[in-house]
Symmetry: C2
Subunit: 403 residues, 2 copies
Amino acid sequence: MKKASNMMIAQSGGPSMVINASMVGAVMTVRKFFGKKIGKIYGARHGIAGILGRDYIDLRKVPEKKMWDISRTPSSALGSCRLKPTADDCRRIFQEFKRLGVGYFFYIGGNDSADAARIVGEEAEKEGYPLVVYHIPKTIDNDLRSCDHTPGYGSAARFVATAIMGDDLDNRALGGVKIDVIMGRDAGFLTAASALARRRPDDGPHLIYFPEIPFSPDKFARDVKAAVKKFGRCVVAVSEGIRDANGESIGAKFAGGEKDSHGNVQMSGTGALGDYLAKIVKEKAGVKRVRADTFGYLQRSFPGIASETDLTEAAMAGSTAVIAALAAAAGNSATPTKGTIGIVRKKAKKYKVDYVALPAEAAAKYTRSLPKEFIAKNGHDVTPAFLEYARPLVGELPFCETL
Amino acid sequence: MKKASNMMIAQSGGPSMVINASMVGAVMTVRKFFGKKIGKIYGARHGIAGILGRDYIDLRKVPEKKMWDISRTPSSALGSCRLKPTADDCRRIFQEFKRLGVGYFFYIGGNDSADAARIVGEEAEKEGYPLVVYHIPKTIDNDLRSCDHTPGYGSAARFVATAIMGDDLDNRALGGVKIDVIMGRDAGFLTAASALARRRPDDGPHLIYFPEIPFSPDKFARDVKAAVKKFGRCVVAVSEGIRDANGESIGAKFAGGEKDSHGNVQMSGTGALGDYLAKIVKEKAGVKRVRADTFGYLQRSFPGIASETDLTEAAMAGSTAVIAALAAAAGNSATPTKGTIGIVRKKAKKYKVDYVALPAEAAAKYTRSLPKEFIAKNGHDVTPAFLEYARPLVGELPFCETL
């Protein structure tokens, strides 16, 4: 492993506002502190696709100032992909790694990317290619099992909470029912963050629907009717991932059935679910002014709104992955050679986290749902425990006042 | 007019991020400087509807700190309405004004609100009710003829430019075609602001479609195909107000046909136009990954993102309306008793504006389109003249970097 001391880093899956902070955290940790242990730093464009297509950037040569600017820029500066590598892909990857002298591979992304990194790691062992592989966690959905919360979530949650705060003020002014569709294929964490917008007892969102609770159009219409009766208006936050009683995704029906190689169906990038829900309210709840917005990709890529806590933690996750990889390469038996970085919240009054190296499987494939203790008994709100959990991740929100 | 020295202020039409700054600008100008000339300050809730329904708030009693907080809060803190007053409504309004001793009426809103204020003013003259009426300009569409630019536009334009900047980075990462539908019923100013997001030659938006240029689905598909060929991807900014060759709104077909009392058809609050455009690209341009987002109400009500220039100008427009109204009441013949505030850009190297009192008709009813000199010859881009026009209104945008 001594000879193959170069590293490859890449980004995968949906972008986030802080995935670049993780990349820069890893790269600058090497450039600043481990310049002798790790030689060249290759950035593959568009994830594994860039390795297969030999599309790299030399991340040692990018000026430091530019790297720090990148770290605060949303989206994936190296480009992304949604690709599950086959055994054959892996063999081509190892040929390429061998050619380039790559002994360290860092892959930043969500559970599918963690799974891709796990596959690369397993195949490397099978093929006898000496490789340290680390997955660096990222997902706005916050559904990785290996983290108390995932880098990317805090900033997306900050966007959602801020947007709902403004939208609730808009709804106060003109009345009626407003439906906002929020990202989150399987987990309701991001939709739950809409509740952080509330300051006054009559602030919206007045109803919140999660993928974790089966969605009934009739109950939805009744809930809206009751909220309109109580508040004279209603703001609804609803996850794009809501499912019917059979566990079937409601939004996926409208979204054209496009699938990536991990088997995920397209959900975002269409307003059809919102329009369907608006129709239900018009027809079944008898409300006249009904509007629906789908927050869409802005949730993960809006410049200038990232949570500072999230930015710091994303950079630290990248930095820790480098340190763990070097420890593993040096023979530290407590640190896996095929790993992922976990974020652990410390039990303390003041918010504080720790970063740990976990085996690759910890983050791969399976997702985490919004826990029961975060969902209110009525099924369409969050609990105080969720608010306590999410507030430090999002940071202070803009102050808005009403008359 | 001496006896009826109280004032009524209200907000109307779609909210904006700075319409509260105009309200607070007017109210605090009275409270700070004209406390003897104007007595009570009534805020009517939900515009004219609040006068007809006797729903007021005493704006002298609201603590000063709260007023300044309101001035930086998006949406209409007094509530809004979309109501065109009839002659009968006006008679009821004057009865109410008489009862309350109201001699000054300020109405903040767009061209429909200006028209409502004009009607109230005309009816007051017919009825012989002594009233000074001032419209205070607001519209994110920027389509008032009386202003170089309208308070509300700069902040909405700032949201749009920032959102497109992030969305273009997102599209860089994952490729394909991204369509963003932007507000603007009749005028393309807000959609044009998407061009402010560009910093590099290959930055999106790569195509921009305005209500002013007839939209052809076939040409659109060809444009997208050409852009994808050139850039390997494509970000499209398209106005919700695009029309076909017959001048018929394309978006209105999908939006359920809801109309307000000014005859405006609902356009926002649905994702159908975006989905329709995505379908065209998939079918006619043969692109696989196509996504569409409709920015929706966030464009006018997102907290914490308002342009500082816009906030200042909105407050100044409100303040100037009070001063003009008092001058008119004092018999200054150069100042109309039924007026609106115009914003004039001074011919100078450094951006500077002036505020003028104009007759009510100047802002009422008719709208302004994006001038020809702001639209590129190809019909789907802006000119440098537009960028020069819009930049100072929006302020400095977040800095984003690419690899």
